[in-house]
């Protein structure tokens, strides 16, 4: 199971990035593709167009506060984001993120990561390596069973796999 990730690029945001910024209600009735185009547009209109596979978000506290809509995590994953590193997360978003195959990593060291830095992350070890500054930073360790869910692409594909094995 491959769990280490290298951030292709960093996107950095402040405190309280809420679910309605990630998945605006106005576009919730359409397809996931249509919704993803509007992800974060209210605070960063360039994001959805420029974000690429392997990018990582670094944010302040209470990331994903608000609605239970799991599309908030799903659009990030669809756009290629592999992990969000934040000082803290809204509780519902935190659960949704793993369920949708997105790492939610809690770290007090977010001030030591800048937009132009290169970082790699070992979620199981709870270690973020800032290749640019040479610093080794800490994040909360992710238990193996949650990493397995992320690795499968989310809880449903993970269950599909494990249920099939059980047959």
């Amino acid at each position: 199971m491959k769990t280490r990730l290298t951030a292709r690029r960093i996107w950095k945001y402040g405190d309280g990035v809420d679910t309605d910024l990630l998945a605006p209600g106005t576009y919730m009735k359409g397809s996931m593709e249509d919704l993803a185009v509007h992800c974060l547009e209210a605070i960063d209109p360039g994001f959805a167009g420029q974000v690429r596979d392997g990018d990582v978000l670094v944010a302040g506290k209470n990331f994903g506060i608000g609605s239970s809509r799991e599309q908030a995590a799903q659009v990030l994953r669809m756009l290629g984001v592999t992990a969000v590193i934040a000082r803290s997360f809204g509780g519902i978003f935190y659960r949704n993120a793993f369920n949708l195959g997105l790492y939610a990593l809690v770290s007090d060291d977010i001030d030591r990561i800048e937009k132009d830095h290169n970082i790699s992350v070992d979620p199981l070890a709870g270690r973020i390596t800032n290749e640019t500054t040479g610093e080794v930073l800490a994040c909360e360790k992710v238990p193996e069973h949650l990493a397995a869910i992320v690795s499968a692409g989310g809880l449903i594909p993970h269950l599909e796999k494990t249920l099939r094995k059980a047959l």
Binding site: P24, G25, K29, N62, G66, E70, G90, Y94, G154, L163
Partner: protein, 430 residues
């Protein structure tokens, strides 16, 4: 000296649902779900493909409540298709507790007697803590977690610590549970709840109606808590019985006196002035005088937290015999069809519409940017809803202020953000 055997209300309910005699904060346990609530947005359209992919059926149709409240009434082909899918799924799965366009789920659930003290309830919506007002441990989850609940009847939970918020004193004239909540958001922040359980208690609570208590529990979500409990009393038991529900042994469901809490905060209701939250967070709240005179394009009384019968009564007290100012508009979306019926019967609905209020369908509506009544770029709105996140109510360049239904009604009359208390006093002396 805290007694280690003593338990909080949250621990008691979770222990019961986990089939244990006791649980401790921090433990991860699996609980049997007594009731699962889903709606048209996060419900069938999301969970149906997941259940099909896994080849599993719902565990117990009798324990599922389904409410169509987000895309109601259909306003285009897409929303109509979502409502149709929801209806078809309810029929195929034999969901008897299906409420199609009868109001907002958090209000419909207790209105139809589905909540009792001590229940462990999972809702597919973030304002699910509303059920805590009835002494039920109710919390919101995303659709994938809900699919797990629907397939197995179980879910896992990390037993939370409890943060006790004690309120003493009686609220002043024109001040409501909504003002209490905005004060709490400003004081504790939107992460103050830290996904733990909040429990409200104190002498202020005793005097609050069930619908006012629901506002407190509802907005535990805005404190970032998992739920917002209120121990049941005779008011709770009567409300449940009146709705055709079963209050059961409601006396059993309260925290032990010497239970241990993560934190205890004390607040005084008696000297609380009306609170208004400025854009773009409920935590940006302060006394009404800080933002008084801000002109608004729209006033909105709606949502699970701000358009129950008590909320319409509050607005009607301000608006009776007055008119909505020419420079603004007032939209009212009663929280449920039963709310509308009751307000029509007691005359409050006429007081609102005669003042110039525009009546909208019962549903989540403009609060979350669904349905009618959303805002244009550059517009300012004063709303009785729970959240004023950027872009939530329409254009990302719009501004939303939050306040009680009294404050929204006073703002509608004045055409700018206003303290409702002078209007209420004037109404009395006239």
């Amino acid at each position: 000296m805290p007694n280690s055997a003593a338990q909080t209300l949250a621990e008691k309910i979770i222990a019961r649902a986990a089939g244990r005699s006791s649980v401790k904060a921090g433990e991860i346990v699996t609980c049997s779900v007594d009731l699962a609530m889903i709606h048209d947005s996060g419900g069938p359209r999301r969970v149906k493909p997941m259940l099909e992919r896994l080849g599993v059926q719902v565990w117990d149709p009798a324990k599922i409540v389904l409410v169509s409240d987000h895309y109601v009434p259909a306003f285009d082909a897409q929303s109509a298709a979502i409502l149709k899918l929801t209806r078809d799924w309810a029929r195929d799965q034999d969901i008897e507790k299906f409420y199609d366009q009868q109001g907002i789920c958090h209000v419909v659930l207790p209105e139809r007697g589905h909540l009792s003290p001590g229940m462990f309830v999972v809702g597919g919506d973030s304002h699910s803590p509303t059920g805590g007002a009835f002494g039920a441990y109710m919390f919101g989850v995303g659709a994938t977690d809900m699919a797990g609940v629907l397939a197995t009847g179980d879910t896992w939970i990390k037993v939370p610590q409890t943060i006790l918020l004690r309120w003493s004193g009686s609220l002043g004239e024109g001040v409501t549970a909504k003002d209490m909540m905005l004060k709490l958001c400003a004081t504790l922040g939107m992460d103050g709840g830290d996904y733990q359980a909040i429990e409200y208690s104190g002498s202020t609570l005793v005097g609050l109606s069930m619908q006012e208590r629901m506002t407190l529990s509802n907005m535990a979500a805005e404190l970032g808590a998992q739920t917002g409990l209120i121990a049941p009393d005779t008011v709770t038991a009567k409300a449940i019985a009146d709705a055709g529900g079963d209050p059961g042994n409601w006396q059993d469901w309260s925290g032990d006196e010497d239970a241990s809490y993560r934190a205890v905060h004390d607040f005084n209701a008696a000297d609380l002035p009306p609170q208004i939250a400025a854009p773009h967070s409920p935590a940006n709240a302060g006394s009404v005088e800080d933002v008084e005179k801000t002109t608004v394009d729209q006033c909105y009384i709606g949502a699970c937290t701000g358009a129950k019968l008590v909320d319409l009564h509050a607005a009607a007290r301000v608006l009776k015999g007055r008119k909505v100012a020419r420079n603004t508009r007032l939209m009212i979306a009663p929280a449920s069809t039963r709310t509308t019926t009751a307000a029509a019967a007691d005359g409050s609905l006429a007081a609102l519409t005669e003042a110039g209020a525009i009546l909208l369908p019962s549903g989540c509506g403009a609060c979350a940017g669904y349905g009618a009544g959303v805002l244009a770029e550059g517009e300012v709105c004063m709303a009785s809803t729970a959240r004023n996140f950027q872009g939530r109510m329409g254009s990302r360049e719009s501004l939303v202020y939050l306040g009680s239904p009294y404050s929204v009604a006073a703002t509608a009359v004045m055409g700018h953000i206003a303290d409702p208390r002078p209007l209420l006093a004037e109404g009395k002396s006239a």
